[in-house]
Protein backbone atom coordinates (compact mmCIF):
# COMPACT_ATOMS: atom_id res chain seq x y z
CA UNK A 1 0.00 0.00 0.00
CA UNK A 2 1.41 3.33 -1.04
CA UNK A 3 1.10 6.15 1.49
CA UNK A 4 1.12 9.82 0.63
CA UNK A 5 1.10 12.78 2.98
CA UNK A 6 0.06 16.00 1.31
CA UNK A 7 0.82 19.28 3.14
CA UNK A 8 -0.07 17.84 6.53
CA UNK A 9 -0.32 20.19 9.52
CA UNK A 10 -0.90 19.44 13.20
CA UNK A 11 -1.06 21.86 16.13
CA UNK A 12 -1.47 20.98 19.79
CA UNK A 13 -2.78 23.88 21.84
CA UNK A 14 -0.25 26.47 20.69
CA UNK A 15 2.54 24.06 19.78
CA UNK A 16 2.93 23.48 16.06
CA UNK A 17 4.03 19.86 16.06
CA UNK A 18 3.90 19.25 12.32
CA UNK A 19 4.19 22.09 9.82
CA UNK A 20 3.36 21.33 6.23
CA UNK A 21 4.85 17.90 5.71
CA UNK A 22 4.58 16.16 2.34
CA UNK A 23 5.94 12.67 1.96
CA UNK A 24 5.49 9.64 -0.27
CA UNK A 25 6.12 6.11 0.86
CA UNK A 26 6.19 3.41 -1.77
CA UNK A 27 4.41 0.13 -1.36
CA UNK A 28 6.60 -2.33 0.52
CA UNK A 29 9.11 0.31 1.54
CA UNK A 30 10.66 0.43 5.01
CA UNK A 31 10.97 4.06 6.05
CA UNK A 32 12.44 5.59 9.19
CA UNK A 33 11.23 8.91 10.59
CA UNK A 34 14.31 10.20 12.37
CA UNK A 35 14.55 13.29 14.50
CA UNK A 36 15.17 14.66 17.96
CA UNK A 37 12.31 14.83 20.46
CA UNK A 38 9.77 17.47 19.53
CA UNK A 39 10.56 17.14 15.83
CA UNK A 40 7.04 15.89 15.10
CA UNK A 41 7.99 12.35 14.06
CA UNK A 42 5.64 10.54 16.45
CA UNK A 43 2.81 12.91 15.60
CA UNK A 44 3.22 12.11 11.91
CA UNK A 45 3.16 8.38 12.66
CA UNK A 46 0.04 8.78 14.81
CA UNK A 47 -1.68 10.76 12.06
CA UNK A 48 -0.92 8.01 9.54
CA UNK A 49 -2.44 5.55 12.04
CA UNK A 50 -5.51 7.69 12.67
CA UNK A 51 -4.66 8.11 16.35
CA UNK A 52 -4.48 11.84 15.71
CA UNK A 53 -6.35 13.79 13.06
CA UNK A 54 -4.50 16.25 10.85
CA UNK A 55 -5.56 19.89 11.22
CA UNK A 56 -4.75 20.51 7.59
CA UNK A 57 -3.67 18.58 4.53
CA UNK A 58 -4.48 15.05 3.45
CA UNK A 59 -3.21 11.54 3.98
CA UNK A 60 -3.76 9.05 1.17
CA UNK A 61 -3.64 5.27 1.40
CA UNK A 62 -3.20 4.31 -2.22
CA UNK A 63 -5.76 6.45 -4.01
CA UNK A 64 -8.10 6.65 -1.05
CA UNK A 65 -8.20 9.80 1.09
CA UNK A 66 -7.71 8.34 4.57
CA UNK A 67 -7.41 11.65 6.43
CA UNK A 68 -10.71 11.25 8.27
CA UNK A 69 -10.93 7.48 8.54
CA UNK A 70 -10.91 6.47 12.22
CA UNK A 71 -8.14 4.20 13.42
CA UNK A 72 -10.33 1.12 13.74
CA UNK A 73 -11.21 1.20 10.07
CA UNK A 74 -7.84 2.25 8.74
CA UNK A 75 -6.27 -1.18 8.62
CA UNK A 76 -2.96 -0.28 10.17
CA UNK A 77 -0.86 -2.30 12.57
CA UNK A 78 0.57 -0.12 15.32
CA UNK A 79 3.34 -1.10 17.68
CA UNK A 80 3.36 1.24 20.65
CA UNK A 81 6.49 2.56 22.25
CA UNK A 82 5.80 0.69 25.50
CA UNK A 83 3.95 -2.06 23.61
CA UNK A 84 0.54 -1.47 25.27
CA UNK A 85 -0.01 -5.19 25.68
CA UNK A 86 -3.26 -6.00 27.50
CA UNK A 87 -1.90 -7.00 30.89
CA UNK A 88 -4.86 -9.23 31.79
CA UNK A 89 -4.60 -11.32 28.62
CA UNK A 90 -2.05 -14.00 27.87
CA UNK A 91 0.35 -13.63 24.99
CA UNK A 92 -1.91 -15.75 22.78
CA UNK A 93 -5.02 -13.81 23.80
CA UNK A 94 -3.24 -10.55 23.03
CA UNK A 95 -2.38 -11.77 19.55
CA UNK A 96 -5.88 -13.17 18.98
CA UNK A 97 -7.64 -10.00 20.16
CA UNK A 98 -7.71 -8.27 16.80
CA UNK A 99 -9.09 -11.36 15.03
CA UNK A 100 -11.74 -11.91 17.70
CA UNK A 101 -13.11 -8.36 17.65
CA UNK A 102 -12.95 -7.98 13.90
CA UNK A 103 -16.15 -7.56 11.94
CA UNK A 104 -14.89 -10.34 9.71
CA UNK A 105 -15.94 -13.46 11.61
CA UNK A 106 -13.29 -16.12 11.87
CA UNK A 107 -13.53 -19.73 12.98
CA UNK A 108 -12.05 -20.40 16.40
CA UNK A 109 -9.72 -22.96 14.88
CA UNK A 110 -8.59 -20.52 12.22
CA UNK A 111 -7.78 -17.95 14.88
CA UNK A 112 -5.81 -20.51 16.86
CA UNK A 113 -3.87 -21.58 13.80
CA UNK A 114 -3.06 -17.97 12.93
CA UNK A 115 -1.91 -17.28 16.50
CA UNK A 116 0.37 -20.30 16.36
CA UNK A 117 1.73 -19.13 13.02
CA UNK A 118 2.42 -15.63 14.36
CA UNK A 119 4.05 -17.03 17.50
CA UNK A 120 6.35 -18.99 15.22
CA UNK A 121 7.06 -15.92 13.12
CA UNK A 122 8.13 -13.91 16.16
CA UNK A 123 9.86 -16.96 17.63
CA UNK A 124 7.78 -17.17 20.78
CA UNK A 125 6.48 -20.72 20.44
CA UNK A 126 5.57 -22.09 23.84
CA UNK A 127 5.06 -18.72 25.49
CA UNK A 128 1.44 -18.35 24.36
CA UNK A 129 -0.09 -18.81 27.80
CA UNK A 130 2.22 -16.47 29.69
CA UNK A 131 1.01 -13.08 30.81
CA UNK A 132 2.90 -9.98 29.60
CA UNK A 133 4.24 -9.44 33.13
CA UNK A 134 5.96 -12.81 32.91
CA UNK A 135 8.09 -12.28 29.81
CA UNK A 136 11.11 -10.10 29.04
CA UNK A 137 11.07 -6.70 27.38
CA UNK A 138 12.33 -8.03 24.07
CA UNK A 139 9.69 -10.76 24.11
CA UNK A 140 6.95 -8.21 24.80
CA UNK A 141 8.17 -6.21 21.84
CA UNK A 142 7.77 -9.25 19.62
CA UNK A 143 4.30 -9.98 21.01
CA UNK A 144 3.33 -6.41 20.21
CA UNK A 145 4.54 -6.91 16.65
CA UNK A 146 2.71 -10.21 16.27
CA UNK A 147 -0.47 -8.58 17.59
CA UNK A 148 -0.13 -5.72 15.12
CA UNK A 149 0.43 -8.17 12.24
CA UNK A 150 -2.50 -10.39 13.22
CA UNK A 151 -5.09 -8.27 11.41
CA UNK A 152 -3.14 -8.32 8.12
CA UNK A 153 -2.60 -4.56 8.14
CA UNK A 154 -1.96 -2.61 5.00
CA UNK A 155 0.70 -0.63 6.80
CA UNK A 156 2.86 -1.42 9.81
CA UNK A 157 3.68 1.50 12.09
CA UNK A 158 6.21 1.30 14.91
CA UNK A 159 6.75 4.03 17.48
CA UNK A 160 10.30 3.89 18.85
CA UNK A 161 10.18 0.10 18.54
CA UNK A 162 13.45 -0.54 20.37
CA UNK A 163 13.50 2.48 22.63
CA UNK A 164 12.79 0.65 25.86
CA UNK A 165 15.27 -2.18 25.35
CA UNK A 166 18.85 -2.94 26.36
CA UNK A 167 21.51 -2.24 23.75
CA UNK A 168 22.29 -5.88 22.91
CA UNK A 169 18.63 -6.95 22.66
CA UNK A 170 18.07 -3.96 20.47
CA UNK A 171 20.76 -5.05 18.06
CA UNK A 172 19.29 -8.53 17.57
CA UNK A 173 15.74 -7.28 17.18
CA UNK A 174 16.81 -4.78 14.58
CA UNK A 175 18.23 -7.46 12.30
CA UNK A 176 15.20 -9.64 12.96
CA UNK A 177 12.70 -6.89 12.10
CA UNK A 178 14.52 -6.39 8.81
CA UNK A 179 14.13 -10.11 8.09
CA UNK A 180 10.44 -10.06 8.88
CA UNK A 181 9.96 -7.08 6.63
CA UNK A 182 11.70 -8.88 3.79
CA UNK A 183 9.53 -11.94 4.39
CA UNK A 184 6.20 -10.07 4.50
CA UNK A 185 6.97 -7.12 2.25
CA UNK A 186 4.57 -4.89 4.14
CA UNK A 187 4.84 -1.11 3.92
CA UNK A 188 6.46 -0.10 7.18
CA UNK A 189 7.13 3.20 8.88
CA UNK A 190 9.00 3.46 12.14
CA UNK A 191 9.94 6.35 14.34
CA UNK A 192 13.27 6.65 16.10
CA UNK A 193 15.60 9.20 17.59
CA UNK A 194 18.54 6.82 17.19
CA UNK A 195 20.34 7.59 13.93
CA UNK A 196 22.22 4.28 13.92
CA UNK A 197 18.92 2.41 14.13
CA UNK A 198 17.43 4.39 11.27
CA UNK A 199 20.49 3.97 9.04
CA UNK A 200 20.84 0.23 9.76
CA UNK A 201 17.25 -0.67 9.18
CA UNK A 202 15.50 1.60 6.74
CA UNK A 203 15.34 1.68 2.94
CA UNK A 204 14.88 5.40 3.27
CA UNK A 205 15.50 7.80 6.15
CA UNK A 206 13.35 10.90 6.61
CA UNK A 207 15.04 13.42 8.90
CA UNK A 208 12.77 15.81 10.76
CA UNK A 209 13.34 18.95 12.75
CA UNK A 210 10.75 21.29 14.30
CA UNK A 211 7.92 19.73 12.33
CA UNK A 212 9.63 19.98 8.96
CA UNK A 213 11.32 17.40 6.78
CA UNK A 214 14.94 18.52 6.60
CA UNK A 215 16.27 15.84 4.32
CA UNK A 216 15.35 12.39 3.08
CA UNK A 217 17.07 9.65 1.16
CA UNK A 218 18.77 6.29 1.46
CA UNK A 219 21.26 5.81 4.25
CA UNK A 220 24.01 6.32 1.74
CA UNK A 221 22.55 9.56 0.43
CA UNK A 222 22.02 11.19 3.79
CA UNK A 223 25.37 10.01 5.14
CA UNK A 224 27.49 10.95 2.15
CA UNK A 225 25.66 14.09 1.27
CA UNK A 226 24.15 15.82 4.28
CA UNK A 227 22.59 19.03 3.11
CA UNK A 228 22.74 20.97 6.35
CA UNK A 229 24.85 21.34 9.45
CA UNK A 230 21.92 19.95 11.45
CA UNK A 231 21.86 16.67 9.52
CA UNK A 232 25.64 16.42 9.67
CA UNK A 233 25.62 16.82 13.46
CA UNK A 234 22.54 14.70 14.04
CA UNK A 235 23.83 11.67 12.11
CA UNK A 236 27.02 11.31 14.12
CA UNK A 237 30.05 12.80 15.86
CA UNK A 238 31.51 15.70 13.98
CA UNK A 239 34.36 18.17 14.49
CA UNK A 240 33.40 21.76 13.85
CA UNK A 241 35.91 24.38 12.74
CA UNK A 242 35.31 28.02 11.93
CA UNK A 243 36.13 28.51 8.24
CA UNK A 244 36.26 31.14 5.58
CA UNK A 245 35.37 30.59 1.92
CA UNK A 246 37.45 32.44 -0.65
CA UNK A 247 37.49 31.76 -4.40
CA UNK A 248 36.06 28.26 -4.17
CA UNK A 249 38.26 27.14 -1.29
CA UNK A 250 37.45 26.92 2.42
CA UNK A 251 40.22 27.77 4.88
CA UNK A 252 40.15 26.65 8.51
CA UNK A 253 43.01 26.91 11.04
CA UNK A 254 45.68 26.07 8.54
CA UNK A 255 43.75 23.49 6.54
CA UNK A 256 42.05 24.12 3.27
CA UNK A 257 39.54 22.20 1.14
CA UNK A 258 37.92 22.60 -2.25
CA UNK A 259 34.38 23.92 -2.19
CA UNK A 260 33.95 25.03 -5.74
CA UNK A 261 30.72 26.86 -6.40
CA UNK A 262 30.29 28.15 -2.87
CA UNK A 263 29.91 31.86 -2.31
CA UNK A 264 32.64 33.73 -0.41
CA UNK A 265 32.03 34.41 3.28
CA UNK A 266 32.08 32.93 6.77
CA UNK A 267 31.33 29.22 7.05
CA UNK A 268 31.70 26.18 9.25
CA UNK A 269 33.70 23.12 8.36
CA UNK A 270 32.43 19.73 9.58
CA UNK A 271 34.55 16.61 9.65
CA UNK A 272 33.86 13.14 11.08
CA UNK A 273 36.52 11.70 13.39
CA UNK A 274 37.39 9.24 10.62
CA UNK A 275 37.83 12.11 8.15
CA UNK A 276 40.83 13.48 10.08
CA UNK A 277 44.32 12.07 10.45
CA UNK A 278 47.53 12.92 12.29
CA UNK A 279 50.87 13.77 10.83
CA UNK A 280 54.14 14.90 12.41
CA UNK A 281 54.74 17.33 9.54
CA UNK A 282 52.55 19.97 7.99
CA UNK A 283 50.60 21.09 6.14
CA UNK A 284 47.59 20.76 8.42
CA UNK A 285 46.07 22.17 11.55
CA UNK A 286 48.78 22.64 14.16
CA UNK A 287 47.66 20.89 17.33
CA UNK A 288 48.80 18.97 20.38
CA UNK A 289 47.35 15.71 21.64
CA UNK A 290 45.60 15.94 25.01
CA UNK A 291 44.41 12.36 25.43
CA UNK A 292 44.29 9.04 23.65
CA UNK A 293 41.28 6.79 24.26
CA UNK A 294 41.73 3.12 23.43
CA UNK A 295 38.75 1.26 22.04
CA UNK A 296 38.28 -2.25 20.71
CA UNK A 297 38.27 -1.11 17.10
CA UNK A 298 40.96 1.59 17.19
CA UNK A 299 42.19 4.65 19.00
CA UNK A 300 40.30 7.90 19.47
CA UNK A 301 42.62 10.89 19.79
CA UNK A 302 41.61 14.14 21.47
CA UNK A 303 43.65 17.14 20.40
CA UNK A 304 43.63 20.88 20.88
CA UNK A 305 44.36 23.06 17.87
CA UNK A 306 46.60 26.10 18.29
CA UNK A 307 43.52 28.20 17.76
CA UNK A 308 41.98 26.54 20.84
CA UNK A 309 39.45 24.38 18.97
CA UNK A 310 38.91 20.84 20.29
CA UNK A 311 39.31 18.04 17.75
CA UNK A 312 38.63 14.31 17.86
CA UNK A 313 39.81 11.76 15.35
CA UNK A 314 40.40 8.04 14.97
CA UNK A 315 43.66 6.29 14.12
CA UNK A 316 44.58 2.64 13.68
CA UNK A 317 45.30 0.68 16.84
CA UNK A 318 49.00 0.36 15.88
CA UNK A 319 49.70 4.10 15.79
CA UNK A 320 51.98 5.07 18.68
CA UNK A 321 50.63 8.40 19.87
CA UNK A 322 50.44 9.83 23.35
CA UNK A 323 49.29 12.86 25.21
CA UNK A 324 51.66 15.80 24.80
CA UNK A 325 52.71 14.94 21.23
CA UNK A 326 52.70 17.91 18.90
CA UNK A 327 51.97 17.79 15.18
CA UNK A 328 49.33 18.45 12.55
CA UNK A 329 45.77 17.32 12.06
CA UNK A 330 45.17 16.63 8.39
CA UNK A 331 41.89 16.69 6.57
CA UNK A 332 40.86 13.74 4.36
CA UNK A 333 37.41 15.12 3.59
CA UNK A 334 34.94 17.53 5.12
CA UNK A 335 31.64 19.32 4.57
CA UNK A 336 31.44 23.07 4.58
CA UNK A 337 28.21 24.92 5.32
CA UNK A 338 27.83 28.67 4.98
CA UNK A 339 26.94 30.49 8.21
CA UNK A 340 23.65 32.31 8.55
Amino acid sequence: MKIRLDHVVKTFETFRAVRDVSLEIESGELVALLGPSGSGKTTILRMVAGLEYADGGHIYFGDQDATDIPVRDRGVGFVFQHYALFPHMTVAENIAFGMKVSRVKREKAAIEARVAELLRLVRLEGLGDRFPAQISGGQRQRVALARALSVDPKVLLLDEPFGALDANVRHDLRRWLREIHRELGITTIFVTHDQEEALDLADRVVILKDGHIIQQGTAEEVCRNPQSAFVMKFLGDANVLAAEVRDGRAYASGAAIDVSGMADGKAELYARPADLDWSAQGPGIPASITRVLDRPDGRRVLATAETGEQLEFDVEPERALQAGDGGFVTLRRAKVFALG
Binding site: H7, V9, T11, D20, G50, L51, E52, Y53, A54, D55, G56, G57, P70, V71, F80, Q81, H82, Y83, A84, L85, P87, H88, P132, A133, G137, R140, A164
Partner: protein, 299 residues
Protein backbone atom coordinates in the same frame (compact mmCIF):
# COMPACT_ATOMS: atom_id res chain seq x y z
CA UNK B 1 -3.94 23.15 3.16
CA UNK B 2 -7.21 24.28 4.68
CA UNK B 3 -7.38 27.88 5.85
CA UNK B 4 -8.92 27.18 9.25
CA UNK B 5 -7.30 24.47 11.33
CA UNK B 6 -9.81 21.82 12.36
CA UNK B 7 -8.27 20.81 15.70
CA UNK B 8 -10.02 17.49 16.12
CA UNK B 9 -9.19 14.58 18.39
CA UNK B 10 -10.05 11.05 17.36
CA UNK B 11 -12.81 9.82 19.67
CA UNK B 12 -11.83 7.75 22.70
CA UNK B 13 -14.05 4.97 23.99
CA UNK B 14 -17.38 6.45 25.07
CA UNK B 15 -16.79 9.81 23.40
CA UNK B 16 -19.91 9.64 21.23
CA UNK B 17 -21.87 12.84 21.77
CA UNK B 18 -25.21 11.19 22.47
CA UNK B 19 -23.78 8.64 24.88
CA UNK B 20 -21.73 11.27 26.62
CA UNK B 21 -24.61 13.66 27.17
CA UNK B 22 -26.91 10.88 28.25
CA UNK B 23 -24.46 9.56 30.82
CA UNK B 24 -23.62 12.99 32.21
CA UNK B 25 -27.35 13.76 32.40
CA UNK B 26 -28.22 10.57 34.25
CA UNK B 27 -25.33 10.93 36.67
CA UNK B 28 -26.15 14.55 37.45
CA UNK B 29 -29.84 13.90 37.99
CA UNK B 30 -29.36 10.85 40.20
CA UNK B 31 -26.57 12.65 42.02
CA UNK B 32 -28.80 15.64 42.66
CA UNK B 33 -31.52 13.42 44.10
CA UNK B 34 -29.25 11.24 46.17
CA UNK B 35 -26.55 13.65 47.38
CA UNK B 36 -27.56 17.25 46.87
CA UNK B 37 -31.16 17.02 48.04
CA UNK B 38 -30.31 15.65 51.52
CA UNK B 39 -27.93 18.55 52.02
CA UNK B 40 -30.42 21.14 50.85
CA UNK B 41 -33.26 19.87 52.96
CA UNK B 42 -31.23 20.34 56.13
CA UNK B 43 -31.15 24.08 55.54
CA UNK B 44 -34.79 24.21 54.48
CA UNK B 45 -36.06 22.25 57.48
CA UNK B 46 -33.76 24.00 59.95
CA UNK B 47 -35.37 27.35 59.17
CA UNK B 48 -38.87 26.01 58.58
CA UNK B 49 -40.05 27.37 61.91
CA UNK B 50 -38.19 30.63 61.46
CA UNK B 51 -34.95 32.17 62.60
CA UNK B 52 -36.13 32.41 66.20
CA UNK B 53 -36.60 28.67 66.67
CA UNK B 54 -33.27 28.06 64.94
CA UNK B 55 -31.47 30.42 67.28
CA UNK B 56 -33.23 29.08 70.35
CA UNK B 57 -32.25 25.50 69.49
CA UNK B 58 -28.63 26.38 68.95
CA UNK B 59 -28.47 28.57 72.04
CA UNK B 60 -30.22 26.02 74.26
CA UNK B 61 -27.92 24.84 77.07
CA UNK B 62 -28.38 21.18 76.08
CA UNK B 63 -27.31 21.93 72.50
CA UNK B 64 -24.36 23.98 73.68
CA UNK B 65 -23.36 21.19 76.02
CA UNK B 66 -23.60 18.66 73.19
CA UNK B 67 -21.42 20.86 71.01
CA UNK B 68 -18.90 21.18 73.82
CA UNK B 69 -18.79 17.43 74.37
CA UNK B 70 -18.37 16.76 70.66
CA UNK B 71 -15.49 19.21 70.47
CA UNK B 72 -13.90 17.73 73.59
CA UNK B 73 -14.14 14.23 72.13
CA UNK B 74 -12.49 15.38 68.94
CA UNK B 75 -9.78 17.24 70.85
CA UNK B 76 -8.77 14.04 72.61
CA UNK B 77 -9.50 11.34 70.03
CA UNK B 78 -8.02 13.05 66.97
CA UNK B 79 -4.54 13.83 68.39
CA UNK B 80 -4.26 10.40 69.97
CA UNK B 81 -5.26 8.75 66.72
CA UNK B 82 -2.82 10.93 64.83
CA UNK B 83 0.05 9.88 67.07
CA UNK B 84 -0.97 6.27 66.60
CA UNK B 85 -1.23 6.70 62.84
CA UNK B 86 2.27 8.16 62.62
CA UNK B 87 3.74 5.44 64.85
CA UNK B 88 2.00 2.72 62.85
CA UNK B 89 3.12 4.16 59.52
CA UNK B 90 6.70 4.58 60.74
CA UNK B 91 6.97 1.05 62.05
CA UNK B 92 5.29 -0.54 59.05
CA UNK B 93 7.04 1.39 56.29
CA UNK B 94 10.52 1.87 57.72
CA UNK B 95 11.13 -1.64 59.04
CA UNK B 96 10.68 -5.24 58.05
CA UNK B 97 9.26 -7.59 60.61
CA UNK B 98 7.17 -10.68 60.68
CA UNK B 99 3.41 -10.30 60.78
CA UNK B 100 3.47 -6.92 59.05
CA UNK B 101 0.71 -7.84 56.61
CA UNK B 102 -1.37 -9.15 59.46
CA UNK B 103 -0.88 -5.92 61.41
CA UNK B 104 -2.04 -3.96 58.36
CA UNK B 105 -5.22 -6.01 58.21
CA UNK B 106 -5.86 -5.57 61.94
CA UNK B 107 -5.45 -1.79 61.70
CA UNK B 108 -8.14 -1.67 59.01
CA UNK B 109 -10.62 -3.80 60.95
CA UNK B 110 -12.61 -0.88 62.37
CA UNK B 111 -13.57 0.06 58.82
CA UNK B 112 -15.35 -3.21 58.28
CA UNK B 113 -16.96 -3.50 61.69
CA UNK B 114 -20.39 -2.06 62.37
CA UNK B 115 -20.24 0.87 64.80
CA UNK B 116 -22.92 -0.90 66.85
CA UNK B 117 -20.66 -3.92 67.18
CA UNK B 118 -17.88 -1.58 68.32
CA UNK B 119 -20.10 -0.04 70.95
CA UNK B 120 -21.25 -3.43 72.23
CA UNK B 121 -17.68 -4.67 72.30
CA UNK B 122 -16.66 -1.79 74.55
CA UNK B 123 -19.53 -2.65 76.84
CA UNK B 124 -17.94 -6.02 77.45
CA UNK B 125 -14.61 -4.47 78.37
CA UNK B 126 -15.55 -1.56 80.59
CA UNK B 127 -19.20 -2.25 81.41
CA UNK B 128 -20.36 -3.91 84.57
CA UNK B 129 -20.76 -7.13 82.61
CA UNK B 130 -17.31 -6.70 81.10
CA UNK B 131 -13.71 -7.68 81.84
CA UNK B 132 -12.52 -4.56 83.68
CA UNK B 133 -15.91 -3.06 84.52
CA UNK B 134 -16.42 -4.53 88.01
CA UNK B 135 -12.85 -3.72 89.09
CA UNK B 136 -13.07 -0.18 87.78
CA UNK B 137 -16.41 0.21 89.52
CA UNK B 138 -14.82 -0.81 92.83
CA UNK B 139 -12.42 2.09 92.47
CA UNK B 140 -15.24 4.41 91.43
CA UNK B 141 -13.91 4.90 87.88
CA UNK B 142 -16.70 5.37 85.40
CA UNK B 143 -15.89 4.80 81.78
CA UNK B 144 -19.10 3.66 80.18
CA UNK B 145 -22.07 5.98 80.05
CA UNK B 146 -19.54 8.74 80.60
CA UNK B 147 -17.12 10.84 78.59
CA UNK B 148 -14.19 8.35 78.55
CA UNK B 149 -16.41 5.71 76.95
CA UNK B 150 -17.49 8.13 74.25
CA UNK B 151 -13.89 8.99 73.51
CA UNK B 152 -12.77 5.35 73.45
CA UNK B 153 -15.57 4.30 71.10
CA UNK B 154 -14.75 7.23 68.82
CA UNK B 155 -11.11 6.21 68.78
CA UNK B 156 -12.07 2.69 67.74
CA UNK B 157 -14.14 3.71 64.74
CA UNK B 158 -11.54 6.20 63.50
CA UNK B 159 -8.36 4.28 64.35
CA UNK B 160 -7.33 3.60 60.71
CA UNK B 161 -7.90 7.11 59.32
CA UNK B 162 -4.45 8.66 59.70
CA UNK B 163 -2.51 5.41 59.29
CA UNK B 164 -4.16 4.54 55.99
CA UNK B 165 -3.24 7.89 54.46
CA UNK B 166 0.36 7.69 55.63
CA UNK B 167 1.21 4.05 54.99
CA UNK B 168 0.83 3.97 51.20
CA UNK B 169 2.54 7.34 50.85
CA UNK B 170 5.51 6.45 53.05
CA UNK B 171 5.73 3.07 51.37
CA UNK B 172 6.04 4.80 48.02
CA UNK B 173 8.63 7.24 49.32
CA UNK B 174 10.88 4.47 50.58
CA UNK B 175 13.57 4.71 53.22
CA UNK B 176 16.41 6.38 51.36
CA UNK B 177 15.91 9.86 52.78
CA UNK B 178 15.70 8.65 56.36
CA UNK B 179 18.70 6.39 55.90
CA UNK B 180 20.69 9.27 54.44
CA UNK B 181 19.73 11.51 57.36
CA UNK B 182 20.65 8.85 59.89
CA UNK B 183 23.96 8.18 58.17
CA UNK B 184 24.71 11.88 58.48
CA UNK B 185 24.28 11.55 62.22
CA UNK B 186 20.72 12.85 62.73
CA UNK B 187 18.79 11.39 65.66
CA UNK B 188 15.56 9.51 65.10
CA UNK B 189 13.35 12.41 66.13
CA UNK B 190 15.42 14.86 64.16
CA UNK B 191 15.14 12.62 61.11
CA UNK B 192 11.40 12.36 61.52
CA UNK B 193 10.76 16.06 62.01
CA UNK B 194 13.14 17.47 59.41
CA UNK B 195 13.10 14.74 56.73
CA UNK B 196 9.96 12.62 56.98
CA UNK B 197 7.37 15.08 58.23
CA UNK B 198 7.84 17.73 55.51
CA UNK B 199 7.12 15.04 52.92
CA UNK B 200 4.02 13.67 54.56
CA UNK B 201 2.50 16.78 56.09
CA UNK B 202 -0.34 17.15 53.60
CA UNK B 203 -1.28 13.49 53.78
CA UNK B 204 -1.13 13.71 57.56
CA UNK B 205 -3.41 16.73 57.61
CA UNK B 206 -5.72 14.97 55.17
CA UNK B 207 -6.03 12.00 57.50
CA UNK B 208 -6.58 14.32 60.46
CA UNK B 209 -9.38 16.20 58.68
CA UNK B 210 -11.20 12.99 57.74
CA UNK B 211 -10.66 11.51 61.19
CA UNK B 212 -12.07 14.63 62.79
CA UNK B 213 -15.17 14.61 60.60
CA UNK B 214 -15.88 11.01 61.54
CA UNK B 215 -15.27 11.57 65.27
CA UNK B 216 -17.63 14.54 65.36
CA UNK B 217 -20.29 12.67 63.42
CA UNK B 218 -20.06 9.21 64.99
CA UNK B 219 -23.46 7.99 66.05
CA UNK B 220 -23.84 4.20 66.36
CA UNK B 221 -20.87 3.33 68.56
CA UNK B 222 -21.32 6.39 70.72
CA UNK B 223 -25.03 5.84 71.20
CA UNK B 224 -24.31 2.42 72.73
CA UNK B 225 -21.71 3.61 75.22
CA UNK B 226 -22.96 7.10 76.08
CA UNK B 227 -26.12 6.37 77.98
CA UNK B 228 -27.78 9.32 76.29
CA UNK B 229 -28.04 11.49 79.37
CA UNK B 230 -29.35 14.82 78.24
CA UNK B 231 -26.98 17.65 79.07
CA UNK B 232 -24.33 15.23 80.27
CA UNK B 233 -23.31 12.49 77.83
CA UNK B 234 -25.00 13.66 74.69
CA UNK B 235 -22.80 14.43 71.73
CA UNK B 236 -24.22 16.50 68.91
CA UNK B 237 -25.37 13.57 66.75
CA UNK B 238 -27.07 11.99 69.77
CA UNK B 239 -28.68 15.30 70.62
CA UNK B 240 -30.11 15.43 67.11
CA UNK B 241 -31.71 12.04 67.60
CA UNK B 242 -33.16 13.16 70.90
CA UNK B 243 -34.69 16.30 69.42
CA UNK B 244 -36.02 14.36 66.47
CA UNK B 245 -37.76 11.80 68.62
CA UNK B 246 -39.11 14.61 70.81
CA UNK B 247 -41.03 15.78 67.75
CA UNK B 248 -38.81 18.84 67.47
CA UNK B 249 -37.90 18.26 63.82
CA UNK B 250 -36.94 21.88 63.19
CA UNK B 251 -34.69 21.76 66.23
CA UNK B 252 -33.10 18.52 65.08
CA UNK B 253 -32.38 20.04 61.68
CA UNK B 254 -31.05 23.20 63.29
CA UNK B 255 -28.56 21.11 65.24
CA UNK B 256 -27.88 19.12 62.08
CA UNK B 257 -27.04 22.28 60.19
CA UNK B 258 -23.97 22.70 62.38
CA UNK B 259 -22.74 19.23 61.50
CA UNK B 260 -23.64 19.74 57.84
CA UNK B 261 -21.56 22.90 57.86
CA UNK B 262 -18.64 20.97 59.33
CA UNK B 263 -19.13 18.37 56.60
CA UNK B 264 -19.00 21.02 53.89
CA UNK B 265 -15.85 22.51 55.39
CA UNK B 266 -14.36 19.05 55.59
CA UNK B 267 -14.98 18.58 51.88
CA UNK B 268 -13.48 21.97 51.06
CA UNK B 269 -10.41 21.15 53.17
CA UNK B 270 -10.20 17.77 51.48
CA UNK B 271 -10.23 19.30 48.00
CA UNK B 272 -7.64 21.89 49.06
CA UNK B 273 -5.38 19.17 50.47
CA UNK B 274 -5.82 17.02 47.39
CA UNK B 275 -4.49 19.94 45.36
CA UNK B 276 -1.37 19.69 47.51
CA UNK B 277 -1.10 16.08 46.46
CA UNK B 278 -2.62 14.45 49.54
CA UNK B 279 -4.88 11.45 49.16
CA UNK B 280 -3.44 10.52 45.78
CA UNK B 281 -1.46 7.46 46.73
CA UNK B 282 -3.83 4.59 47.23
CA UNK B 283 -3.35 1.06 48.31
CA UNK B 284 -1.74 -0.65 45.36
CA UNK B 285 -3.82 -3.79 45.73
CA UNK B 286 -6.79 -2.25 43.97
CA UNK B 287 -4.97 -1.14 40.85
CA UNK B 288 -3.65 -3.46 38.19
CA UNK B 289 0.04 -3.05 37.56
CA UNK B 290 0.15 -1.86 34.00
CA UNK B 291 3.11 -3.74 32.68
CA UNK B 292 3.18 -1.45 29.72
CA UNK B 293 3.48 1.61 31.91
CA UNK B 294 6.69 3.47 31.12
CA UNK B 295 6.94 4.72 34.70
CA UNK B 296 7.33 1.19 35.89
CA UNK B 297 10.65 -0.57 35.82
CA UNK B 298 10.32 -3.97 34.32
CA UNK B 299 12.71 -6.69 35.26
Amino acid sequence: MSATPKRRKPPRVGDGTLFRRLLIGIVLIVGAFLILAPLLIIGVEAFSKGWQVYRDTIAHPDTLHAIGLTVLTALVAVPVNTAFGVAAAWSITKFDFRGKRFLLVVIEIPFSVSPIVAGVAYLFVYGLQGIFGPTLDDYGVKILFAIPGIILASMFVTAPFVARELIPLMQAQGRDLEEAATSLGASGWRTFFSVTLPNIKWALLYGVVLCNARVMGEFGAVSVVSGNIRGQTNTLPLHIELLYHDYQAAGAFAASSILALIAVFTIIAKVALERQGAGRVRRPATRPALVANPAEKTS
